[in-house]
């Protein structure tokens, strides 16, 4: 029974940690709206460039996907296409802004 309780406690703790990790980060202080949109456009442009350079070597961009789906696809492609963490972040921003 002790083992059972220990296993349950460990699994619950790991679930709790994953939930915490999955929470969105606290947003940075608000900046001027046009500066924000400019930097967003720049990020998206860079994301598109990375998509074409890496993913576009084999296939077209997929039809619309939810951010959670895109995140899973990108994790899959980090292994398959050896994307870097930065590639993943920028392409995520491009595919699911």
């Amino acid at each position: 029974m002790k083992t059972l309780i220990a296993v349950f406690a460990i699994l619950s703790l790991s679930t709790f940690c994953l939930r915490i990790a999955a929470r969105p980060q606290t947003p940075a202080p608000a900046q001027k709206s046009h500066t924000l949109s400019q930097s967003k456009a720049k990020l998206s442009q860079e994301g598109e460039r990375r998509f074409q350079a890496n993913c576009g070597r084999c296939h077209n961009s997929p039809d619309s996907l939810s951010p959670r789906e895109v995140k899973a696809v990108l994790q899959h492609m980090r292994v398959r296409a050896m994307l870097s963490a930065e590639d993943e972040r920028l392409i995520l921003n491009y595919l699911a802004p």
């Binding site: 679930t15 994953l18 999955a22 084999c58 997929p62 039809d63 789906e69 696809v73 050896m82 870097s84």
Partner: protein, 351 residues
């Protein structure tokens, strides 16, 4: 004694199993990503030297991230083969086959290192890992040299290390190294082998070049070497892919070019959905070996095809190939329709 096994212990084990399943499910639901089911469905009609056959194929891929560093991924294939009873006459008959391409656990340590254990696609050159999926490859038939370094199953059972060793804005150096054990388990066959691949990628120019090596550690050890080139100029939708491979069973190369009839890669209207493709192959036979799965005679081949990308991830492809061998030449016609799918494996994942 099996019959004397205490009931409490069985109940405890069941409860633990349920808790594990529940916690795993909770952990997956709690993530910012969701497990996905993707892949391709394809129907291929072929006429090879006057022999007609049809192949329906479904190839699902499961990718289940667990946190930011762990990933479980798997791909299987269900393929049918229907041909006339006597080759060119008689009623059609056929059967279905299943294959298990990979089932692996990945630990993504960082951008430089991913550790993989389980069954994975053998990373020799680039065709097997990148252009093998039905919804990606331009021609239905794989290259003649495809089995060099991958043999019959194209999968390995063991472990693999891979990643981008060095990354700069203008160039990246990637690598893969693996060891595979011998396995004769049905659907999980693999050979005892070790090898690796390394390449340089220039993202701004769209060029990648690399080399592969494999040492096959059974049936009288032998080596296979390969090299590859990919070129995609960013300014125009033109792709060039090529591979060279050598083994005691023979050596050869393939060179494939594709051009999307568009001013740029973002254009998807009208004629921009059309993509002519061409491939040339030359193979020079070496020492015949039943384990090499290579032609026993010199073989040359040219293919011409046309891709049409319909909306909703559907693609039509038709191709004509001419094969030249000392024993005679033959025509190969292919027509295929391919559907690429992707949806969440859990309910609610598309939110």
């Amino acid at each position: 004694m099996k019959g004397d096994y205490p009931k409490d212990a069985i109940v405890n084990k069941i409860v633990v199993a349920l808790l594990v399943a529940f916690s795993c499910a909770s952990a997956l639901f709690a993530q910012s990503s969701t497990p996905i089911l993707s892949g391709g469905m394809q129907f291929v009609g072929t006429s090879n030297a006057g022999v007609d056959f049809f192949q329906p194929v479904i190839s699902p891929v499961l990718a289940a991230p667990v946190g930011d560093h762990w990933l479980i991924e798997s791909r299987g294939e269900l393929q049918g083969f229907f041909a006339r009873e006597d080759g060119t006459t008689g009623p059609y008959q056929g059967q279905f086959f299943t294959t298990f391409d990979y089932a692996q656990l990945d630990y993504i340590a960082n951008s430089h290192l991913t550790i993989t254990v389980g069954r994975f696609l053998t990373p020799f050159n680039i065709y097997n890992e990148r252009y093998g999926p039905a919804w990606i490859r331009n021609f239905q038939d794989p290259a003649i040299i495809y089995t060099i370094g991958t043999r019959s199953t194209a999968s390995s059972d063991g472990f693999m290390l891979r990643g981008v060793a060095v990354a700069h804005e203008n160039w990246e150096w990637n690598y893969t190294a693996y060891f595979s054990a011998l396995s004769n388990i049905k659907n999980l066959q693999s050979g005892r082998a070790a090898g690796g691949r390394t390449g340089i990628f220039l993202p701004i120019k769209g060029i990648e070049i690399g080399v592969s090596y494999q040492r096959f550690l059974q049936n009288g050890d032998y080596s296979a070497q390969g090299s590859y080139l990919v070129w995609q100029p960013p300014s125009i939708p033109f792709d060039v892919r090529a591979e060279y491979a050598h083994s005691p069973g023979g050596q050869g190369y393939w060179l494939e070019a594709a051009y999307r009839l568009a001013a740029n890669r973002r254009n998807t209207a009208g004629l921009a959905r059309l993509q002519p493709v061409a491939r040339i192959q030359q193979f020079s036979a070496g020492t015949p070996s039943p384990n090499a799965f290579l032609p026993s005679r010199d073989t040359n081949r040219v293919d011409f095809g046309l891709n049409y990308y319909l909306p909703h991830e559907v693609r039509l492809n038709g191709s004509y190939g001419r094969q030249f061998t000392p024993g005679g030449n033959s025509n190969i016609w292919n027509f295929q329709i391919t559907y690429r799918f992707l949806f969440p494996a859990w309910p609610g994942g598309s939110k």
